[in-house]
Structure formats: structure tokens, C-alpha cells
Amino acid sequence: MSTDYVIVGSGVAGIAAAETLRAHVPGATITLISEDPAGFYSRPGLAYYLTGVIPDKQLFPQSAEALRALNLKWIQARVERIDTQACCLVLADKRRVPYDRLLLATGARAAAPDFPGGELDGVVTLDTYDDARRLVQRARRGTHAVVVGGGITAVELAEGLHARGCHVHYLLRGARYWANLLDAEESELIEGRLRADGIEIHYHTRIRQAVGTGGRLTAVETESGTQIPCKILAVAIGTRPRLELARTAGLTTDRGILADQFLKTNVPNIFAAGDVAQVYDPLTGQATLDTLWPTARAHGVVAAMNMAGTPMIYQRTVAANVTLLAGLPTTIIGVLGGANDDDLVAIARGNSETWLATVPTWVVVERHDVNRIRLMLGDRAINGALIIGDQTLARPIQRLIDAQADITAIRADLLAPGADVLALLHRFWTEWEAAHGPVS
């Protein structure tokens, strides 16, 4: 009898797992259950749809034929619970789906508004394709919109709404944007670009409540008593892993579903991958959350290999993300340290908890107008970097961080006042690459 593989979730972790399973157990029955009627799409790409860079249909990476070729049994339904004794899933319509190996790739959802009035029509979050479509329909030219939150998604919402012709107010609870990752100059760089676009930033502004009539949003009331009239309030204060299924099934959870290096949970034959998985790192002894697309894809592949009976350890790479912040390409790599961010109540999308680890670090900054490189130097290696604007050195720096390249030869020069950081790095990289070979 063939093994029944069941995947819950149609995001990148789920699809990567399905592809891997199909490649390694060609005859297996693979069922993919997704609550999301849109199926598999580029969630990070929603930002580019919002700004009008691509049409919505471009968000779907796989053609219908390509998905059919995977020969999945695709069920669009909400899973109500997992019966771990009987090894089956119970769907909302009471159908039962048996499994031999189960992967939970249920992702994360936007944290609910942490102020009264969050249920009003017009208060929105950005999780899914449908969310983005509805937001575009609401965002008519001249509409007043308020964005609250932090991280990448908040700025994407502000820029998207602005691109659709809305008058956008961006409320920051503190003195600056993304205060737990960016330094003050980097925050100012992004804020300046947003302001230049016409987005109105309100500092030290907390929402007391969303105000409405007849169930519809009409304004945001701040804690100082000011009312900002608006028809849209976009909330991006972080994401929370979708843990309900795991918790009711008795899986061990913390901030996410706890998984070991093989992506196994504490319950036999159940695995976790993607934004929902909080994966153990033997190097630090800690389990961390990541909300990064490439990490989710890698989780899906490794979980599937282990489900298929080929033991594979999830090899962490240095967490990195590349994004556009106010039109500026920004690469975030490795450990950058950081404190709390008032604008976030939970981990933002496109983020890694490992970025905020604290290690002894010397900071080197190279500034050129909108181009900026910040290096976090350890005793022997570069621990982290944040590169805004020109990305020429992003790939080399990432490689040096990944490899923990010994930079003691240039460390003192990098730290010297007035150092030409770009030239030093470029020369070091050229020699290092010649000795170690190009990126494989």
C-alpha cells in the first residue's frame, strides 16, 4: 500500500514540499489542502501588484498545467482539527483525510489590530491575494488612507496605496521607522523618500480607536484626540503563525510550532515548515522564527525529504532578505542586533528573529547619498550587513558573511577614520573570491 502524504498549506513551503515529494516518491498519493482559494502565488509579489508594477495574474508562478503535472489531490477547505490517534485530518465539512505523513505549512497571518474598532469595514490587513485585490478595489483616487505598523509590509502598504492615488498618512508609534533594525540615518533615508513621494508621516502617534458609522470606518482617532478622516486603515503590526491546528492536536508550540533540525514536530509523522515553524538551531541552542520566502522553500524541501524517508538536516544559511524600501533596494544579512520596535507587536513579514541577536560588534558605515553600507564587524568576520541603494557589493558581502570569511587582514583598516570601505571590501572580495572560487 502506498504512503499517504498530506500537506496543509499552499504557500511556498507547501508547494516546495509537494514538488520534492513528487520527485522522490513518484507513485505516492500527495494531498494538498489549502484554505486559500487562490492557491500558490508570490506573496511577496503582492506589493508589486499593489503599486501597479505587475497585474494580478502575474503573481502565479506555476501554470495550471505545471501544477497538474505534480498530480496532487488538491482540496480547498479549512482543516478543523487533526486526529493524531486515527492519523487523519477532519475538514470543516466533516470530511476525513487520512495521512501517513503530514506537513503543516499553514503560514502566518497578520496580527489583529490592537485597538478598538478593528472590526470596522475599511480596516484591512495584507495576507493573501484576495486581501490585495480587495484593497486595490477600495483604493480609489483621492481616498484618505491610514497605515499603521512597521517592517516591510507597512511601507509596502503605504507605497501601494499612494501609487493607487490615495492620500496616505503613515502613523509611527515612535520617533522613527523600523527602529529595531535600521539605524537612525537609515530610518531617515527611508522616511525622507516616503515624504518626498507625498506620504504624510505622523511620529509618536498611537491609535486610540478606529471610528465608524454604520459599521464603516470613517476616521482614526489618535491618543492625543486628533481625528484623521479615512476610508482605509491598513494595519501591519506583525504576523503570528497559524497555530490553532497544532495546538488543538497537542503539538508542542512556542511562538511557532517547535520543530527539530529534520523539521519534525514532537508528534510522530507530523512535520512543520515555513512561517509556522520555529526551528531548532543546534549552534545557538535556540529555536527561531523566520518569515522569509527562501527559508520557507528550504524548509519545505527538507521536510519532504524526511517525510519520504531520506534523512536530511535543515542546514541554516545566514538569514537574508532583499526588498524595496521606498524604492531603494535594501539587503539585510545576518546579525544586526536591535531592541524593540513600538510599531510591531510580533515578527513582521520578510523578517528573521536571528537578525536581532546581540553579539559584540563594531559598526562601520559607508555613506554616499542614497547608497549606504553598514557592516557589523565581529573579531574575525563580518556578522551582518545592511546595504541600501547600490547593490553591487551585496552578493559579495553575503558570501563573506555566509562563509564567515576571516577579515582580520582588513579589519583595522575598515575601522580607521575616513576608511574607503568600498575599495577595501572590493579588493578583499576580489582576492578572497580568487582563492575560494565563485559562488556555486
Binding site: 508570490s42 509579489g45 508589486y48 520566502w293 532583499v322 559562488v439
Partner: protein, 85 residues
């Protein structure tokens, strides 16, 4: 018709690029947004190559650079054929 020297140099350079250059993805940076495929003047599915981690090996690729320039995450770059960076 006289030969325009600059035009000839341009054409020869282009021929050289076509013969020796290709577009290469850096898959871990890619989020499959599809901006590359959307802007390819020949309609090549550049994104699928990035997913597979393969160079854009389609003989129709003009190495025009639209995908390289428009990718918001710096996934794509030019490399000489046979090189990975």
C-alpha cells in the same frame, strides 16, 4: 550605403554578448514575483529558470537586460557562459 563605424562596433559587441553572455539567477533572492517574465520582450518565463536555479539558456534570449534591470531584488545578473557569477 556607407557603414557607420559606431553601429558596426555596437553590432559586433552585441554579437559577442549574445555568443558569450547569459543571464544567471541567484535563487535564494528570488520570491517569484514574475516582474522578470512580465518584462521579457520575448515572453520567456525567466521566473521559471530562477525557481529551477538555472541560467536562462533559451536561445531566443537577447540578453537585453530588461529582466536584470527590473528585478527588484537583484536576483539576475549577467555572466559569461560557463561562469556562475
Amino acid at each position: 550605403m556607407s557603414i557607420d563605424r559606431n553601429s558596426l562596433i555596437f553590432d559586433l559587441t552585441r554579437a559577442d554578448v549574445l555568443a558569450t553572455g547569459q543571464v544567471v539567477p541567484d535563487p535564494p533572492r528570488c520570491v517569484q514575483c514574475g516582474i522578470c517574465s512580465y518584462n521579457c520582450p520575448l515572453g520567456l518565463d525567466v521566473r521559471a529558470y530562477a525557481w529551477a536555479g538555472e541560467s536562462i539558456a533559451d536561445s531566443r534570449c537577447l540578453t537585453c537586460g530588461q529582466c536584470v534591470a527590473r528585478c527588484p531584488r537583484g536576483v539576475l545578473h549577467f555572466a559569461r557562459i560557463g561562469e556562475s557569477i
